[in-house]
């Protein structure tokens, strides 16, 4: 009797072991952060990902954290950060320094080949790739009213001012803003770099910088110059404003206001002490990163890659009019036909990476711009530039 029992028990054990051996699909949980406006689109992309990947059971939750806030939210509590999140490229240095991003090593060559050079450069820190490029449209350019300014007029800043003034309208640019004012200095050949000791090095007060400074002074002193925040531009374009510097986030509002007269182009050339110099700008990208504390790195990377592949970048353009960083996607007819994106692409040829701009740059630059807007000439341009650079370099 006992012997039979022993055999039965052993058989039962084997059975249990065999049953356990049958491959169960594992469950992988991932969290994704995206901006509010992207939620519906991201959900579709995520659902497509799940259908395409049946090797495991994916549970993917979507949370709302805008690209601008991503860095703050991640650094507040890195352990609670999403596995995959969207962020703006100017945050990458801080994120890498805090060790919050997972280095991209899988399919690295493919990613580099598929996306624009500028976007890869923006995703690379210390020669290591840390993010997947998603969009290439976070820069700025010039919108203008076709009924007032012609395509020829908008090639030169001086011409624009004269024509607008004659029509009783304004040219808008938020000069008291380090992001925009840099276009003059960078266009004059100025450089913002990070030195060996980790401190900012800025040469905006050299001879070229001084000429750029004079140009800014002339610009802000002109009767047709108008400054303010975005709302002023979108509120006044078409009526009191003939042209303004802004980015793709206002494309819809401005095209609504201008209707048939909607046009956009790269930034004009400005008068730098006699010669014409092209206004430069900061190149902006939206990137997708993987949290370094994710529990499922391989899955997270696959998801990140999926969200930024060519197909989904095209989808992003179609749903949200966001310019792709993927080379093929960006070369499509539809993208080229988009007025704002075309202008941005043109301007991007003269754009500069924002990676080496440290936090201490913004306030002094804005202070200089504010003084110019207030027409405060109590000091010479050179003096002001010297002070500005001294503060930037800390």
């Amino acid at each position: 009797m006992r012997k039979i029992l022993a055999i039965i028990l052993t058989l039962a054990m084997f059975g249990a072991v065999l049953a356990g051996c049958k491959k169960e699909p594992e469950t992988i949980t991932l969290k994704v952060w995206g901006s509010q406006e992207d939620q519906a689109m991201l959900q579709e992309m995520i659902d497509a990902f799940k259908t395409a990947h049946t090797d495991a059971n994916y549970v993917i939750t979507l949370g709302v954290v805008s690209e601008a806030d991503a860095k703050t939210k991640v650094l507040e509590d890195p352990a609670a950060a999403a596995d995959v999140f969207q962020f703006a490229n100017d945050q990458i240095v801080d994120l890498v320094n805090a060790g919050a991003l997972y280095e991209v090593t899988r399919n690295k060559a493919d990613i580099i080949a598929a996306n624009m050079e500028g976007s890869i450069e923006a995703s690379t820190v210390n020669d290591k790739l840390y993010a997947y490029p998603s969009t290439a449209d976070n820069g700025y350019f010039m919108y203008y009213d076709k009924s007032v300014l012609s395509a020829e007029d908008v090639k030169s800043l001086d011409t624009m001012l004269t024509v607008a003034d004659a029509a009783g309208k304004k040219v808008f640019m938020d000069v008291s803003n380090g992001w925009y004012i840099a276009s003059f200095f960078l266009g004059a050949g100025g450089k913002l770099t990070v030195g060996e000791d980790g401190k900012q090095v800025c040469d905006f007060n050299n001879a070229n910088g001084a000429k750029a400074g004079e140009a800014i002074k002339a610009f802000t002193a002109h009767n047709a110059f108008l400054t303010g925040e975005d709302a002023v531009l979108t509120g006044g374009i078409g009526t009191t404003i003939a042209a303004g510097v802004s980015g793709t986030w206002n494309a819809e509002a401005i095209s609504e206001k201008l209707g048939e007269n909607y046009a956009a182009t790269k930034l004009p050339e400005f008068n730098m002490g006699g010669t014409q110099a092209q206004m430069s700008s900061f190149a902006g990208f939206k990137l997708v990163g993987v949290s370094s504390q994710t529990q499922a790195p391989v899955a997270a990377m696959e998801l990140a890659e999926w969200l930024t592949n060519e197909e989904n970048q095209i989808k992003r353009f179609e749903t949200r009019q966001m310019g792709p960083a993927n080379i093929n996607a960006a070369n499509s007819e539809e993208v080229k036909a988009n007025v704002a994106l075309a202008a941005l692409a043109e301007q991007n040829q003269h754009a500069v990476s924002q990676k080496e701009v440290l936090g201490g740059y913004w306030v002094p630059a804005e202070a200089f711009g504010t003084a110019m807007e207030a027409k405060d000439y109590s000091k010479t341009i050179q003096e002001m530039l010297d002070e500005m650079v001294a503060q930037i370099q800390g």
Partner: protein, 283 residues
């Protein structure tokens, strides 16, 4: 008062004029806010003052278009948090200020001094510290956490209430003790009913706090969208990408916030009684 012959007083007339003028000045920005909330054209800035079109759509869209901005949900969240915060804060403040005003015990002066200076440290890192403490307690990203954050340190706000309690004459206490009450009874039966104006003030202040704060809730809630309170939610509407389309809705949302607070105040005005103490002692 109704039967007295109404005296015409120049000083009263002058006061009416001044009050009206001041009211107009004070109300103007609010009126502008209300006007903008009914504006039909989108955008955050217009080169003119009066809207060209008026519409109620901004208000209705807040409640119907909840895909992007879930206003009703935020409203309820904030209401819940506000009610609980209000109750807890008021209890804590009243307990603290009464104790420090009326009871004598060792260390009282010390506690008062410490309480005075504790709130003076300007710190932004405290938010991060509180977030982790709450996380260690298992409460992160919840409405409970928010209530605790808003009402936890309420005891520190004791000065005003204490100053008020100080003005209630001791004779009342003594009379009560003679009648056989213990300290606890004195608090609930005698002092509290006399403190209505200050209770109203405390209730109102602690009720308002959750409606207007967006910094703390941003740190506590992070990405838990469903638990956002109204201030944080509204703040999302005026980001660079959204402001053109949603500014007028934002104004509508802000106007709606003012309503429960104003209602609460109107309701509590009943308790603003005049010259109470004078009557009680004389009697």
């Amino acid at each position: 008062m109704k039967t007295k012959r109404r005296k015409f007083s120049f000083s009263n007339l002058a006061i009416y004029i001044i009050l009206s003028a001041m009211s107009v000045v004070w109300i103007m920005p609010i009126l502008w806010l209300i006007m903008t909330s009914f504006r039909g054209e989108p955008g955050a800035w217009t080169p003119y003052i009066f809207p060209k079109e008026y519409t109620v759509a901004n208000y209705t869209r807040l409640f119907t278009e909840t895909g992007l901005f879930n206003y009703p949900r935020w409203f309820i969240n904030t209401l819940i948090v506000a009610v609980f915060t209000c109750v807890i804060s008021t209890i804590l403040v009243l307990m603290t200020s009464y104790t420090l005003s009326r009871l004598r015990f060792r260390g009282r002066k010390g506690i008062m001094n410490i309480g005075l200076i504790l709130g003076m440290f300007p710190g932004f890192m405290s938010m991060i510290a509180i977030y982790f403490i709450l996380k260690a307690m298992g409460l992160s990203q919840s409405l409970t956490a928010l209530v605790l954050v808003y009402s936890g340190a309420a005891g520190l706000g004791y000065f005003i209430a204490k100053g008020f309690f100080d003005t209630i004459p001791r004779v009342l206490d003594e009379a009560a003790i003679v009648d056989g009450a213990n300290q606890n009874t004195i608090f609930w039966r005698i002092i509290l009913p006399l403190s209505k104006p200050i209770v109203v003030y405390t209730v109102l202040m602690s009720f308002i706090a959750p409606w207007v704060d967006f910094i703390f809730v941003s740190v506590i809630m992070k990405d838990n969208y469903n638990n956002y309170t109204i201030a944080l939610g509204l703040y999302q509407m005026i980001t660079r990408e959204n402001i053109y389309r949603y500014f007028t809705q934002f104004c509508a949302g802000a106007v709606l916030i003012a309503i429960p607070i104003t209602i609460l105040f109107i309701y509590m005005q009943k308790y603003y009684v005049e010259g109470v103490t004078g009557g009680a002692v004389k009697g």
